[in-house]
């Protein structure tokens, strides 16, 4: 794939607010023309899908204790240095660094988080996250535009 601008939602549409990322990504793709390469269940799956992209905006649900629906830009450098405790999962930050070392990743990666409230089984976002989706999509579009200008 060799799209200049890509967007990807990380998460699972069948786990409540974990579907926030894919929901925002779909809206961003529809409104900006960016290519939606998600949904991404495991960060490693980004490798190969975003190769050759100039800019990638990744959107993921988060659980930080902030009010549900909070939208923020995540510092990927901080995330990449965080210790993980999994044999099998490689965190988003490390995947971004790995792609950078391999020279295959996008030139710029922007990560957007949407605070979720309910991650139980089942489809559907909580009210706060539903309200946050267009706001997050607008922020993502702005980030895409700004990153595209700088790249």
């Amino acid at each position: 794939m060799n799209h200049r601008v890509v967007v990807a939602g990380l998460g699972n549409d069948y786990r409540g607010d974990d579907g926030a990322g894919p929901a925002v990504a779909r809206l961003v793709a529809a409104s900006t023309g960016a290519v939606d390469i998600g949904p991404i269940a495991e960060p490693l799956d980004l490798l190969g899908k975003w190769d050759g992209a100039c800019v990638a905006v990744l959107v993921d649900a988060m659980r930080t204790g902030a009010p549900p629906g909070t939208v923020c830009v995540v510092d990927i450098e901080t995330e990449s240095s965080r210790q993980t405790t999994s044999t099998h999962a490689i965190g988003l930050g490390r995947v971004v660094r790995l792609a950078s070392v391999l020279g295959t990743g996008p030139r710029r990666v922007v990560v957007l988080g949407v605070e979720g409230a309910d991650f139980a089984d089942g489809q559907g976002l909580s009210d706060a996250v539903v309200r946050a989706v267009p706001r997050a999509a607008a922020t993502a579009a702005e980030l895409l535009f700004a990153a595209g200008l700088q790249s």
Binding site: A41, Q83, H88, L102
Partner: protein, 435 residues
């Protein structure tokens, strides 16, 4: 770690071992320069899948148990199908069995590639993770990612998607993949086979600690092929049992420090499942290129150095690519894609070889097909006591090392067995105490 203690009396704490799934801790106490105690303490909450399955329909286990693990969902699906079909006395046509084996090969390829390249190999280069390894040997990491991608492609093509495939059902598949889509796998699989062969050469050159373990190996055996999705259960000390008989023989105990059950064979104690066991009991049934690769890597008839498990995994990568290629080239669409499974009251057991070892499931259902009881024995539960024994040996051999080096050696010893704590509902921080 307690820095004020002299080296002969010390305690090492390892919290949150990286590249090990789940939560738990390892406590090591060394007194007067001798190992006094090793304890795996497991505190991740149990996941109650067995209770969750009770009262559900007999066709639901493949989808429910697949959720136990994101890395080996096919293993759970295939084992669940085998157990339910055993209970219902369902005969599965050869064309469906072959397609199941093809799907399972995809899981072996992606799981082994992930473990060998991104999780285990960094240890042998003193790298913190795959990112550092890519800085040292970019080509190797690229090769690993290519292999993983082919495994994922195989799972997507047959299973519908790479994580938690949706095309598997009791009796077979919801839909048979089209002939063209399976034949199109041949070229990627040929390339993957070459990458797998290079993997064996690469890992065989690593510098391995000179440690030999004493293991009771347990794995599936099959008269016609290297075991994946079917077979009887054999051990290196002479057991030859059906999955049901083996499940009866295994005693699972709860210990206070762990939320996981610990498995022992009644009257024989601990055992090891996984690549070392499969290889020891089945190496003569490897595919030709895999057999040749094993010989070139100097594996011999069995490998008892746990640190060399990475070489065995690489050989199994060759096998899985070769086997998948054979199955893809000979693919015939099963028609129909599944056979009817009628509920039959009773108990059924199934066993398959997950990438990291033997997986057993047993179900009791009533005449309506409602599940009355379920038992799941993941490989990590079965291997846990043997991993503890390995750690004891590794610590005794390396007791003169400083705490940092000994901690690193313990982490490596654990990763040798690629434990999947999500599957076993457990695991791992490490504490070494010298006092």
């Amino acid at each position: 770690m307690a820095p004020d203690l002299p080296i002969q009396d010390r305690q090492l704490d390892m919290h949150g071992i990286s590249r090990v799934e789940g939560e738990g801790s390892l406590h090591v106490r060394i007194r007067d320069g001798a190992l006094e105690n090793v304890e795996l303490e497991i505190f991740e909450p149990p996941r109650f899948f067995e209770a969750l399955l009770r009262g559900r329909g007999f066709e639901e286990p493949p989808d429910i148990t697949a959720r136990i693990c994101g890395i080996c969902p096919v293993a759970y699906q295939m084992t669940a199908c085998a157990a339910i079909e055993d209970c219902c006395a369902t005969e599965i046509p050869e064309s469906i069995s072959r397609l199941r084996r093809l799907l399972y090969c995809g899981e072996w390829i992606q799981s082994h590639a992930l473990h060998v390249y991104l999780l285990h190999a960094p240890d042998f280069f003193s790298c913190a993770d795959a990112v550092e390894l890519a800085m040292v040997d970019r080509g190797a990491v690229e090769r690993g990612l290519r292999l993983k991608k082919v495994g994922n492609l195989l799972m997507e093509t047959v299973g519908g998607r790479a994580i938690h495939p949706v095309n598997v059902r009791t009796g077979g598949f919801y839909r048979a993949p089209e002939l063209g889509s399976i034949r199109a796998l041949a070229d990627p699989l040929r390339a993957a086979l070459n990458d797998a062969l290079e993997t064996v050469t690469w890992v065989a050159s690593f510098d391995f600690p000179d440690v030999e373990g004493e293991y009771r190996f347990v794995s599936l055996v099959h008269p016609d092929h290297y075991p994946i999705e079917s077979g009887r259960i054999a051990s290196s000390d002479g057991l030859d049992l059906s999955p049901a008989e083996f499940a009866d023989l295994v005693v699972e105990e709860h210990v206070a420090r762990s939320t996981a059950l610990q498995a022992r064979i009644s009257g024989r104690d601990t055992y090891l499942t996984g690549p070392l066991a499969r290889y020891a009991l089945n190496q003569e049934r490897l595919t030709p290129r895999a057999k040749e690769a094993a010989a070139t890597a100097g594996l011999g008839e069995r490998c008892t150095n746990p640190f060399r498990s990475i070489v065995v995994r690489a050989v199994e990568l060759v096998f899985a690519c070769e086997e998948a290629l054979r199955l893809a080239e000979g693919y015939v669409e099963p028609e129909p894609p599944s056979v009817v499974v009628e509920p039959k009251p009773g108990t059924g057991s199934g066993a398959t070889e997950a990438p990291r070892g033997l997986l057993l499931q047993r179900y009791e259902i009533d005449e309506q097909g409602t599940i009355l009881s379920a038992r799941i024995m993941p490989p990590t539960s079965q291997n846990q006591l043997t991993i503890e024994s390995d750690l004891r040996r590794v610590i005794e051999d390396g007791i003169a090392l400083d705490d940092a080096a000994l901690t690193a050696r313990c982490e490596l010893a654990i990763r040798n067995h690629d434990p999947c704590i999500s599957c076993a509902a457990h695991f791992l921080d490490v504490e070494i105490e010298r006092s």
